[in-house]
Amino acid sequence: MSAVAQRPEVAAPLLELRGVSKEFHVPGHRTPLSAVSDVSFSVHDGETLGLVGESGCGKSTTARVIIQAPKPTRGQILLRGVDLASLRGSALRRARRQVQMVFQDPYSSLDPRWKVRDLVAEPLRVNRIGTRAEQVKRVDELLHLVGLNPKQYGDRRPRNLSGGQAQRVGIARALALSPSLVICDEAVSSLDVSIRAQILNLLEDLRTELGLTYLFIAHDLTVVKHVSDWVGVMYLGRLSEYGRSEAIYRSPAHPYTASLLAAVSEMPEADRPEVDEIPSPFNPPSGCRYRTRCPYAQAKCAEEVPELREVAENHRVACHFPLIAH
């Protein structure tokens, strides 16, 4: 069993992943694509876990296996201590309602032919929650909650909304079933700087107001810093670093995290090739998957897969030669 953040004072975390892996069989490739490999972490009530990494690192696949679409190849996903794989029928549907997603592109996740009102009501209708009148009232409530006046926006269609407004509709839809956990998958990545700030502030207000817990997935470390209590860094399907947000940003222990931080602050980096690419996930490097890009790689890195281990309290890293002493 790989490492899980230990928080003795809380009995069952809201969400826990235990050794989760997801492989895809892709036509034309003999080996399966390992999108997520042996990932373990937990998310506690009221706290935000930021999951960062470059495209293709498996962060979005992790989000999808959490909502069981698709199911993981190996490992367990526990919601309040209950393994989702053990649930069937109505019990699974009830559990799924607890976890909702907000996606990157609000336009492509909203049916262009539907009115805002109907888009927000859809989760209520599908799950047969409340009478028609109660649903109408709930939709108004939800639109107010995300800062859209129902009278002004209720009858619009997605094409008559700005990017920020469309994302507010996406958030209202996600909140319709009163979830405990909201997974934001690059939810602000395609928005303008000014609109991004509005949506980030809205997500923060909703968190305190409704007691939400977020799994916040993004490639932008600055954005993640603003919202997260905990941070997980993924690289080629593996969790390479995990811990309290302040610790990771103050003293990154994994060379990969350090390079991501350097890119954000645009600090010149020593020993880094100017062009470097993520290796193919069909054929990941042996040992530590980051070693082909790592300026500190040694022979051991090619031979042994580094386990996620504690370097400080609430700070774990999967590296044979972490940047901070332990």
Partner: protein
């Protein structure tokens, strides 16, 4: 240099063109629509210097992309373009489409946000770059291919001989953007327009692509116009800046001057909205409340006034873009850091 013989101002244009490769003067663009004309761009003036990057910064709908598309003549018949855009001494506004098409690619080229949608998925990238080369020069297929490989090398595609045989789907987003830049460079344009070239890319790749553009403009003495909504990126990768709001330039100056002393409250708001890596978790961001005005409705006074924290009595009159300090222009009645 100057091929057009009409008008007696050719000689003056030519002397200015030595300093600037592109001069946009009072450019306005409007679109016809059922609900009346939409004024997307109003009175925009810009200068692009060889070997330097001009950043055009603004939110979606600010008119930054429409301005550039008007200059390139890509807007089609629904748009009415007035004013002037002079590229190497040639007036582009009103130029017939067949002549414009020849200028595009040769003298001005464009790189878009999403490289995947601009590349042909069924062609090897080497062939696509070679095709771009053959559009501008009469060379044989073999020569065009080796030119393509050289171009891929110049945009630092690793192992270009091998990668030239790849199809677009085999490349990462950053590599595809490099291919797009290689195609844009194939004719050595005077001006390269880059419309949000890194918005769809990872942070690590963003920095690499922007550094590449910095490098290329110096190596080829090419003017670059970088369009972005991120003032932080523009501050690091441009020489001159023009901030646009509701179709107008509201502040412009050399980048160092502007970032060192922001005058227009909108520019400051754009700066404050950028998340900071040193801010503590859960700290609220300074956001610009409200949204930009509807371009189909007439704007009375300063367009930013309804969202502006410094709004005052005079804002009901439109402030003109005027030079408040040497090289630094702003359109604001109550500028920051200046005693009224």
């Amino acid at each position: 240099m100057v091929t057009s013989t009409e008008g007696g101002i050719v000689s003056t244009i030519n002397s200015v063109a030595m300093e600037h490769s592109l001069i946009v003067e009072r450019l306005s663009v409007s679109f016809k629509s059922g609900a009346g004309d939409v004024h997307a761009v109003n009175d925009v003036s810009l200068r692009v210097t060889p070997g330097k990057t001009l950043g055009i910064v603004g939110e979606s709908g600010s008119g930054k992309s429409v301005t550039v598309r008007a200059v390139m003549g890509l807007l089609g018949h629904s748009a009415t373009v007035t004013g002037s855009a002079c590229l190497d001494g040639e007036e582009l506004v009103g130029m017939p489409e067949d002549q414009l098409r020849r200028r595009r690619g040769i003298k001005m080229a464009m790189v878009f946000q999403d490289p995947m949608s601009s590349l042909n998925p069924t062609m090897r990238i080497g062939s696509q770059v070679a095709e771009a080369v053959r559009q501008h020069r009469k060379v044989g297929r073999r020569e065009a291919w080796s030119e393509a490989v050289a171009l891929l090398r110049s945009v630092r595609v690793p192992d270009p001989e091998r990668r030239a045989r790849d199809y677009p789907h085999q490349l990462s987003g950053g590599m595809r953007q490099r291919v797009m830049i290689a195609m844009a460079l194939s004719a050595r344009p005077s001006v390269l327009f880059a419309d949000e070239p890194t918005t769809a890319l990872d942070v690590t790749t963003q920095a690499q692509i922007l550094t590449l553009l910095d490098d290329l403009k110096q190596r080829y003495g090419m003017g670059v116009v970088l369009i972005t909504h991120d003032l932080g990126i523009a501050a690091r990768h441009t020489d001159d800046l023009a901030v646009m709001y509701a179709g107008r330039v509201v502040e412009s100056a050399p980048t160092k001057t502007l970032i060192g002393a922001i005058r227009m409250p909108y520019t400051q708001a754009l700066m404050d909205a950028i998340p900071r890596i040193d801010a503590p978790s859960h700290s609220p961001l300074a956001s610009i409340e409200g949204s930009p005005p509807d371009p189909s409705k007439p704007i009375l006074g300063c367009a930013f006034a309804p969202r502006c924290p410094r709004v005052g009595d005079r804002c009901t009159t439109t402030p003109l873009l005027a030079e408040g300090e040497p090289g630094h222009r702003w359109a604001c009645w109550y500028p920051l850091g200046v005693d009224a």
